[in-house]
Symmetry: C2
Subunit: 209 residues, 2 copies
Amino acid sequence: MVGEHKATAERRQALRAALISAAGRRIAEDGLPALTARAAASDVGCSVGAIYNVFDDLDGLIIAVNSKTLAHLDREIAKSLAAVADENDPVESLVAIGLAYCRFAAAHPHLWSALFEQGVKPDRDVPAWHMDEHIRLFAHVLTFLKQLDPKQEDEQAWSRARLMFSAVHGVVSLGMHELFIAVPPDEIETQVALLVRATARGLYDRSPW
Amino acid sequence: MVGEHKATAERRQALRAALISAAGRRIAEDGLPALTARAAASDVGCSVGAIYNVFDDLDGLIIAVNSKTLAHLDREIAKSLAAVADENDPVESLVAIGLAYCRFAAAHPHLWSALFEQGVKPDRDVPAWHMDEHIRLFAHVLTFLKQLDPKQEDEQAWSRARLMFSAVHGVVSLGMHELFIAVPPDEIETQVALLVRATARGLYDRSPW
DNA sequence: AGCTTGTTTTGAGCATTGTTCAATAGTAAA
DNA sequence: TTTACTATTGAACAATGCTCAAAACAAGCT
């Protein structure tokens, strides 16, 4: 009979959770390269092999951490949206999203950079459900773009949401790269706010020309 | 006497050059992780140790490759600027820069991504001269921003040049990440053009409000 | 309890990585 | 040639991700 011991599943689940949070701590503190199989195992008090009973790969563990990170980031964005003063000004909400993104990256630089530090990999790509988690991030943006122009097609709105999100991401990303050299974090925030307002205006304001 | 054999210096120089171009080829074809010390050595027909006579580090070799890549990219941008139809429309020049960036990334994805694939490193950071090479990239942008508004302060112009450059970078960067999933390259180009025009308008057009 | 059967966990072992450094080969002056 | 120094080498080292025969375990049966 194809037996499966009852307690096994929950034990595996517990190990998964423990590994994920230990790995998260390690990445947050010392960066992605500090997450080695042996380190993770000893953090949790299991054998190296145990990791591979529960994840396909170390990449699998990293993706699980990233998943948690995305959820956290999503909550932060929601929080900062709730604090927007003028409910009727979509641009202010967009700015709030950008600033939340900014602040999250500054607060958790290693976790944040782990989200994108998967070089251009030829075959082994991330699972679809994790892609979705990324995409869900700029669903927030979509909401307010539709407020800015309710008539626009869904496809265009998505496309522009990704555009704005990507642009903000670029500013934060390059800002962090040179962070330890030149650009102070609060200036990054200023620039992100400026960028969001400029693109919103450039994309949606149809003033007389 | 502190002798230094005459032929040595040039031989080292030759080895450096050979290593750089072999490494460039390897990265371009199979991505950064394919560049291992042993592979590079055998490509060039030298010993592993020889690499370390000529570079501090494998990172040193990578930086040298990146340096060549940046020079190449810079030439491409210059070329595409030379082909701009309307000399008197700075926005068209800015668009041209963005598109050149786009096309370069699409044409040499591995070389391009090697430029940014240095995770957030705590201590060991890239030398200043290489940072300068990066910065020189958006000096191009600066030129045309000053044409858009000759009155603006230098500092603001630099800041906005970096802003625009970063924004474009973000769109290309996220676009490439999901490239193998969804976003076709020509759509990225469309989006970059849209973004450049929108930000230029948003940042500089002082229409009656 | 003891035995049997299938499952789960383990950690020594493998291949591969970047990097070093005693030993070898090389160079040029004496 | 001899001598004195320099340059190159590649076996050896530590650390990596990952595997898989073996050990430990769990549950049912007599």
